[in-house]
């Protein structure tokens, strides 16, 4: 292999992956034919799971290596375009693949913060980090901090921060793997987690970064095919145009028109909606009355009798709440659920809608005074401003977090040169962009199907996909005829976000094999991200902690053995954590971005762009950024016992990085200015990373 030139290597890769893509498409076609011949869906699920995991394992085994540089950075010869695909798969997790379109369906414009944040961050990667880190050319992100700031303390803080953000993230991925495996094959979630874990380990265990890279390229190809087929199909069905990203403009207008109809009680659809909302309002009121009665009984000391009476009235079901507190919580949930259905439909494309206080006031009280109207208006404006502020803060945290997550930055160590690192960021974003700019189209197309086909249909003849999904999982699809008119109203439908991607093949009327393909795509997305993250954690421990700090004289064999052992331990621990089903996983994913943004970004960027930045600055900046970010989450997030009243400027805890980042920057600047400028060799290191090639220069490349 060593005699091969880079361009021969590139040609060979191109040949392999073209062949692979063709083979995968042929595989799907064969399954489709088998389905027509009567292969049951369950078997299609099994075959997809077994075939894709075997494929990843095969690539993993073929890429096994005992070479340090191959193990940590895939030998630094991954061509820009392939590194782009690998980064794309590394980046797009189960949340992007399955959750993104659903978030957009539910939140409309306000959900776009994720689309913007998770793409725009690459501009920062390209302009501030990738080329410089490539020139530096070692193995991990803490490596850079350790050399640039000349000490083990900055390296150690880097290791700790890398582990905190990668671990929260990897738990979420393994959780996603468990859910998808369970859905694809019907086995239990806990087993699904460990089965998925086996899939992750076969990729990364033997060949480290080298195996992970080539598996991720394969996974990217599967996930993008799986995402595109149903969307294109749906787009052709609704608009006759096979380019959904252009075609959905006209569909969006129809959606907006339907929204207006639903909200106007003078139209037939609007009147039906109003009757459904009134029925929900009545339900809400009845639960609230029950809660009041319960509170009164508890205050009078007759809570237990009240509970027994309620239990008898409900027919004493086994799952009836055991205490008055549980009963109250259950009723409160029902009341809130009903309350969520009483408001008007929010418009998909509208940004930062207010609370609708002014409209409500004018409707309830036509002769409201000027002051009352002004107060309601101010309330609306305030709500809208808070939404906008949070949107901006979240976009900023996600972007800067993107440019700080070690598992992504590490990928740019694997290209052959600085030139390729720059091109590779372009390819990364291009491949990520293909999925992200399709998700908003998918959300609108599915919304249109629900608004135009499902709403107004009869409960006696629901479309097959509605019946199927509401039977499978009520959190994804629930539909009740609350006003008993036998016709479906929008208010009567409850959709879970993940449904949008999972059910699209059925909505579009595609055969089951495409549903299997989508699940395999989701699995590829989750596995590839988990691979990259596990490797980051294991490398931080084995390379930065063991080799650089504990035993710098360790032999190559020993270093790799330690690294593989740690990979196994971390993977098992992460799978164990995921199998406990910790709540609020989505929050933890968002938190990982805020934490990374606060801890890494200031020290990394100033390390390249400001020669004066030094040891003390890095230590103070990283600790202060991380500290402020964690403190803010601690005081505002209910899981840690925080309360929303503690919020600063009403910013939600997920965007805590918006406070951590500036503090981090200030910390680096002040810490550096109060201590003396870095030594000459550090200044030379900065020049070294700034210029792709410098005559008579030092060499920082790791062996």
């Amino acid at each position: 292999m060593s005699t091969q030139t880079q361009s021969q290597f590139f040609q060979q890769l191109k040949k392999y992956y073209t062949f692979y893509t063709g083979g995968f498409i042929a595989f799907v076609i064969v399954l489709a034919i088998l389905e027509q011949m009567g292969l049951p869906p369950k078997w299609i699920g099994y075959i997809f799971l077994a075939a894709t995991i075997a494929l990843y394992a095969g690539i993993g085994i073929m890429s096994k290596t005992a070479d340090v540089s191959e193990y940590y950075v895939a030998g630094r010869r991954v061509p820009a375009i392939f590194n782009g695909m690998a980064t794309g798969a590394d980046w797009m997790s189960a949340a992007s693949f399955i959750g993104m379109a659903g978030t957009l369906y539910l939140a409309g414009y306000d959900g776009l913060a994720f689309v913007l944040g998770w793409t725009g961050g690459y501009v920062l990667v390209a302009l501030f980090l990738a080329p410089y880190l490539r020139k530096f050319g070692q193995f991990t992100i803490p490596d850079f901090l350790g050399s640039r700031y000349n000490g083990n303390l900055p390296r150690t803080i880097g290791v700790i921060a890398a582990i905190i953000c990668s671990f929260t993230y990897v738990v979420a991925q393994i959780y996603g793997v468990g859910i998808i495996t369970a859905r694809l094959t019907g086995i239990e979630f806990q087993y699904g987690v460990f089965l998925g874990l086996a899939g992750i380990l076969v990729c990364s265990f033997l060949g480290g970064m080298r195996a992970v890279t080539w598996t991720q390229v394969a996974q990217y190809i599967i996930l993008i095919i799986a995402y595109m087929i149903p969307v294109v199909w749906l787009s052709v069905a609704h608009t006759g145009n096979p380019v959904p990203q252009i075609a959905y403009g006209q569909v969006l207008q129809q959606v907006t028109q339907l929204e207006n109809e639903f909200n106007n009680p003078d139209t037939a659809k609007g009147a039906a909606e109003a009757s459904a909302r009134a029925a929900f309002k009545a339900q809400q009121d009845s639960f609230e009355a029950k809660i009041a009665a319960l509170d009164a009984a508890v205050a009078a000391g007759t809570g237990a009798t009240f509970l027994e009476a309620q239990r008898a009235e409900a027919g004493s079901p086994a799952d009836f709440p055991a205490t008055t507190d549980d009963l109250k919580a259950s009723w409160k949930k029902s009341a809130d659920g009903a309350k969520g259905k009483t408001g008007p439909v929010s418009a998909h494309a509208t940004a930062f809608a207010g609370k609708g206080s002014e409209k409500k006031l004018l409707k309830d009280n036509p002769d409201a005074t000027a002051e009352e109207i002004a107060a309601a208006k101010a309330e609306d404006e305030h709500a809208s401003n808070v939404k906008r502020r949070n949107f901006i803060a979240l976009v900023l945290c996600l972007m800067v977090g993107t440019a700080s997550l070690p598992h992504i930055l590490m990928r740019y160590y694997t290209t052959p040169s600085v030139r390729d690192a720059r091109k590779s960021v372009f390819w990364s974003l291009f491949f990520i962009f293909l999925l992200y700019f399709t998700a908003p189209a998918l959300a609108v197309l599915v919304k249109y199907t629900v608004y135009s086909d499902l709403v107004g249909s009869s409960f006696a003849a629901l479309p097959a996909w509605v019946a199927n999904w509401s039977a499978v999982d009520a959190t994804l699809m629930k539909i009740v005829d609350i006003n008993l008119d036998g016709i479906v109203q929008l208010a009567e439908i409850t959709i879970g976000g993940d449904l949008v991607v999972l059910a699209t093949p059925e909505i579009a009327g595609l055969p089951y094999v495409i549903s299997g393909l989508v699940a395999a795509g989701g699995l590829a997305a989750a596995l590839s991200t988990a691979d990259g993250l596990l490797l980051t954690i294991a490398n931080a421990l084995s390379h930065d902690v063991y080799y650089k700090m504990i035993d710098p004289k360790a032999s190559t064999v020993r270093r790799l053995a330690i690294s593989k052992g740690l990979l196994l331990l971390v993977a098992l621990f992460a799978a164990y954590t995921a199998s406990l089903k910790p709540g609020d996983i989505l929050f933890l994913v968002g938190a990982a971005f805020s934490l990374a943004a606060s801890a890494f970004f200031p020290a990394l960027v100033l390390g390249v762009f400001w020669k004066r930045a030094n040891y003390l600055g890095a230590v103070v900046g990283m600790l202060a950024g991380l500290g402020v970010c964690m403190y803010y989450m601690y005081i505002t997030y209910p899981f840690f016992g925080g309360v929303p009243e503690n919020q600063w400027f009403e910013i939600a805890p997920i965007a805590a990085g918006v406070f951590g980042m500036p503090v981090g920057f200030l910390g680096v600047i002040i810490g550096s200015l109060v201590s003396k400028a870095p030594a000459k060799d550090i200044q030379e290191l900065v020049d070294h990373v700034r210029y792709p090639n410098l005559a008579g220069d030092i060499d920082t490349r790791a062996a």
Binding site: T5, L112, Y122, A351, R388, I392, R419, R422
Partner: protein
């Protein structure tokens, strides 16, 4: 080692390019978001403008920014003789 005048100029050009591209990034992201409710009144091909930017327009511009940066910097490397040799 001592950096030559040419080297300094290369770095200044890099900084200028970085600043200009960052400014474009800032405008298509944060300025558009800030004025989103007003910008949504403009409708092009069925898309309210701010919605379109958030869903697709800004993303396309991000891709172009990175493409342009890679191209321009790789040219600058050659102009200033700091390009890398053919490795391996």
């Amino acid at each position: 080692m001592q950096l030559s005048e040419r080297h300094q100029e290369y770095w200044r050009k890099n900084l200028r390019l970085t600043a200009v591209l960052l400014a474009i990034w800032f405008v298509v992201t944060f300025v558009v978001i800030y004025f989103a409710p007003q910008l949504n009144d403009i409708v092009i091909m069925g898309f309210p403008f701010a919605f379109y930017m958030g869903a697709q327009g800004s993303l396309i511009i991000y891709v172009l920014i990175i493409w342009f940066y890679a191209r321009r910097m790789n040219q600058l490397d050659n102009e200033y003789g700091v390009q890398e040799g053919e490795e391996e």
